[in-house]
């Protein structure tokens, strides 16, 4: 059987990455630069925001710990190394032609061998407009861009959880004609329907009656606060409130449509829609859909424990270290966690298959079929890791002695000590303190009660946030049990073991106790607590080359503007 050599496959190849500043994108990019110096050239598609695209990317390169191995390896020479291998392309996946200046796009289309689309919105229930732009139209624009290239292929990063409310073993296949609950599905018509839904929701929110109601609310609020109802102030507040109302309506509209069709949230629904749209294009362009499961801390690259942001296991594991002792989850349900560096290896594997045109349409990248990790085990390991940490680092004696020895319990969402029930009790207590006390009580008692109620209201707010997080995660930790088949990646005959996708090598106990939990504690928990995250600053800040410089083009009007025009 012929095997693929990763180095020779990538040698001289030109690859465009969109969404390269995301968690997975950064790690894959760093891995390519670190391990495959033979690569022809990497183009990184970056959107300009307040800062120009190249500055944003330079900032990521110089401050993200994901690039630490590169800085350590190349030191002051990293700029030179990158100058020969990497170019920043200004663009925006939500725009046609990926928002790339046509003068830049023309030479790119001739050179590119592979486009990898990481771009996407990972919020579970975002504003439907944003989800459509990033998750659906971004994918379609990437496919259209590839179709206009001379010889490029598309590797689109999706998620295993497009499985929605399906149960059990999830094969590496795609049926674009049915939703997870069996509803007939036509992706193109669904996209039209969503655009109509967005327009309808926005129009409904623009009704003069809605504006009047908002205005009345604001005036009443200002009067309650004893502020003068100035017209300019009312207008500014009304505009803000209206925007929020529209956003909330669109969040709700997206979630409603997703659940109607059998997806737990807008994220998985729009990702699935994008897959269906791309599948229809698979006959004309080489395309592969790459579905990672729950991507978590790196096992070894860029360094053990690297993680960032609001990932899936992080908040759950964080809660296991608080005084909340009941988490709604189902015993023996699997949570398909995969370290980010394993995902990066999987991506390399899928890319190799795609570059050889011996690819499959779907590659799932998880652990549940070969190295399953159950909810019980996750909470057991998390409790043990917290115990280990709290015994020596607990802030108070109660945390060191009691909390460290008090394990979290996996229970039903309706359990007696569920977050919802605790919040209800706190709410009732607050109500009593605010309104239930007799009117003729000493002033000091009233003050104390108000103080207590204030603390209680803060606790209630926090509990409400936790409850919302639980609701978001419930489909994954309680409602459904998935086993994602991940054969396709394992079957790609990669010659060099260092590049092979090998989830069987993961030792969960070592990973969870010594890698993942310390990683979360260092990189994610501070964020949950509203604290400053550990900063990283490259010892030798690097600069990058812009596409205009690379191709000798006059700096244009800005990619977005060019594309729109």
């Amino acid at each position: 059987m012929a095997t693929f050599d990763v180095r020779s496959t990538f040698a001289g190849r030109h690859v465009l990455l969109s969404g390269a500043t995301g968690f997975v994108g950064k790690v894959w990019l760093a891995m390519l630069l670190d391990r495959l110096p033979e690569i022809g050239h990497l183009y990184v598609l970056i959107r300009s925001k307040k800062r120009p695209a190249h500055e944003r990317f330079e900032r990521a390169l110089n401050t993200s710990p994901a690039f630490r191995p590169l800085h350590e390896r190349f030191g002051a020479d990293l700029s030179d190394y990158l100058e020969r291998r990497l170019t920043v392309v200004e663009g925006d996946v939500s725009l046609p032609g990926l928002g790339i200046d046509p003068a830049v796009a023309a030479p790119l289309r001739k050179k590119l061998d592979l486009v990898v689309n990481f771009a996407g919105l990972v919020d579970f229930n975002p504003d439907l407009r944003d989800a459509l732009a990033s998750n659906v139209e971004g994918a379609v624009h990437a496919a259209d861009f590839v179709a206009a290239c001379d010889h490029a292929a598309l590797l689109h990063v999706s998620t295993c959880y497009v499985a929605g409310t399906r149960e059990g073993r999830i094969p590496e296949s795609l049926d674009p004609t049915r939703t997870p609950n069996g509803t007939p599905f036509d992706a193109e018509r669904e996209l039209e329907h969503l655009h109509a839904l967005v327009a309808e929701t926005v129009t409904a929110a623009d009704d003069p009656a809605v504006h009047d109601e908002i205005r009345e609310q604001i005036v009443a609020r200002l009067e309650r606060r004893g502020l003068a109802p100035k017209e300019s102030r009312i207008r500014a507040m009304a505009a803000r409130l209206h925007r929020r109302r529209v956003k909330e309506a669109l969040i709700e509209a997206g979630t409603r449509r997703a659940t109607e069709l059998g997806w737990p949230n807008t994220y998985t629904y729009t990702k699935a829609l994008a897959e269906a749209l791309l599948a229809a294009r698979a006959e004309t362009i080489p395309v592969a859909l790459f579905r990672p499961a729950i991507v978590e801390s790196a096992e070894s690259f860029p360094f053990p424990g690297w993680n960032e942001g609001f990932n899936t296991s992080g908040p759950l594991v964080y809660l296991a270290g608080t005084w909340l002792r009941h988490i709604p989850a189902k015993h023996y349900n699997k949570l398909d966690v995969i370290p980010v560096d394993h995902v990066a290896r999987g991506l390399t594997t899928a890319a190799v298959a795609l570059l050889h045109r011996e690819h499959r349409l779907v590659y799932q990248c998880g652990t549940s079929d070969l190295r399953p990790l159950t909810m019980d085990r996750i909470f057991d390991l998390s409790a043990l890791a917290h115990r280990k940490h709290l015994r020596t680092h607990g802030a108070t004696k109660a945390r060191r002695v009691l909390l460290s020895r008090w394990d979290i319990t996996v229970s039903t969402p309706e359990g007696l000590l569920s977050v919802r029930n605790i919040r209800r009790v706190v709410h009732q207590a607050n109500r009593f303190l605010r309104h239930g006390l007799p009117s003729k009580i000493p002033h000091e008692v009233r003050e104390k009660a108000d103080e207590l109620a204030h603390t209680g209201e803060n606790a209630e707010r926090r509990l409400r946030q936790i409850e919302d997080v639980m609701d978001l995660f419930q489909p994954f930790i309680h409602d459904h049990d998935f086993t994602f088949e991940c054969r396709a990646l394992r079957e790609v005959p990669i010659r060099d073991p260092a590049f092979r996708f090998d989830p069987a090598s993961i030792d969960w106990r070592r990973y969870w106790m010594d890698v993942h939990m310390p990683g979360l504690r260092r990189w994610c928990f501070p964020e949950y607590e509203g604290k400053e995250r550990e900063a990283y600053q490259a010892p030798h800040p690097v600069t990058v080359v812009r596409a205009e410089e690379r191709f000798g083009i006059e700096p244009g009007r800005g990619a977005g503007e060019a594309a729109r025009s």
Binding site: D376, R377, L384, R405, D407
Partner: protein
């Protein structure tokens, strides 16, 4: 039968409990039972350990294998992860202070004399294996092993159970596999059921022996070594 080459032609067999450490298996089991998830489960398993204690003591003088099996029952349904982590904690927080310095010196001396030191312990590998390996005074460690199914302990010990009358058979088999002359080998133990282990070698020594072993050692004219208090 194929022979496994020994690192030297003389071996010393040492029972850890009483010679190298001053703690028995029940202490480790109680520690783990006290740190199971759930307060109810902790209470129940601690009671079970307490109930096993007199049985273990009574059986200790007769059938230590059965005693060991009973002693480890409270670990039933505990996850392998928890046992491993708690074992690490127990070793570092409790057991390391119970290591007998004289025992460590004894084993070091044996290695200096060229003996292959084989430590036998009725504790489980997660605890005693970890401790003895970390001390770096033994060439081999043979401990009891818990049976696990789907990542959880069944509460049963896998055969052969260390600590019973099988000690003698173990030494003979070990010596035969390596082609050793057992009359030139040594053994050190402190409990009565180890009498067969001691009698299997040419140079037995009772260390801090209990009443029955002390009597047997005197009758057999074996050297008796009591550690200084």
């Amino acid at each position: 039968m194929s022979k496994t080459p020994a690192t030297s032609d003389r071996a010393a067999f040492v029972r850890a409990e009483g010679v190298l450490v001053d703690r028995g298996v029940l202490s480790a089991v109680a520690y783990m039972a006290a740190h199971r998830p759930g307060f109810r489960e902790r209470g129940l398993r601690l009671l079970q350990t307490a109930a096993a204690a007199p049985l273990f003591a009574a059986l200790g003088q007769r059938d230590r294998s059965l005693g060991n099996r009973v002693a480890h029952l409270p670990l039933r349904d505990m996850s392998e992860d928890r046992i491993a982590i708690l074992a690490e904690e127990y070793v570092e927080d409790i057991l390391r202070d119970k290591v007998l310095d004289t025992g460590v010196e004894l084993l070091k001396g044996l290695r200096r004399e060229g003996f292959t030191v084989v430590v036998l312990s009725e504790g489980i590998d997660e605890v005693m294996g970890r401790l003895v390996r970390s001390l770096g005074v033994a060439d081999e460690v043979h401990t009891n092993r818990l049976e696990y199914r789907a990542g959880r302990a069944t509460g049963k010990l896998l055969d052969p159970v260390v600590g019973g009358y099988e000690g003698g058979r173990f030494v003979r088999d070990w010596g035969r596999r390596r082609g050793l002359d057992l009359s030139r080998c040594r053994a050190y133990a402190s409990k009565a059921p180890d009498v067969l282990l001691l009698s299997a070698v040419g140079e037995p020594c009772a260390v801090n022996p209990d009443f029955t072993l002390r009597k047997a050692a005197r009758e057999a004219n074996w050297p008796i070594r009591d550690y200084p208090a």
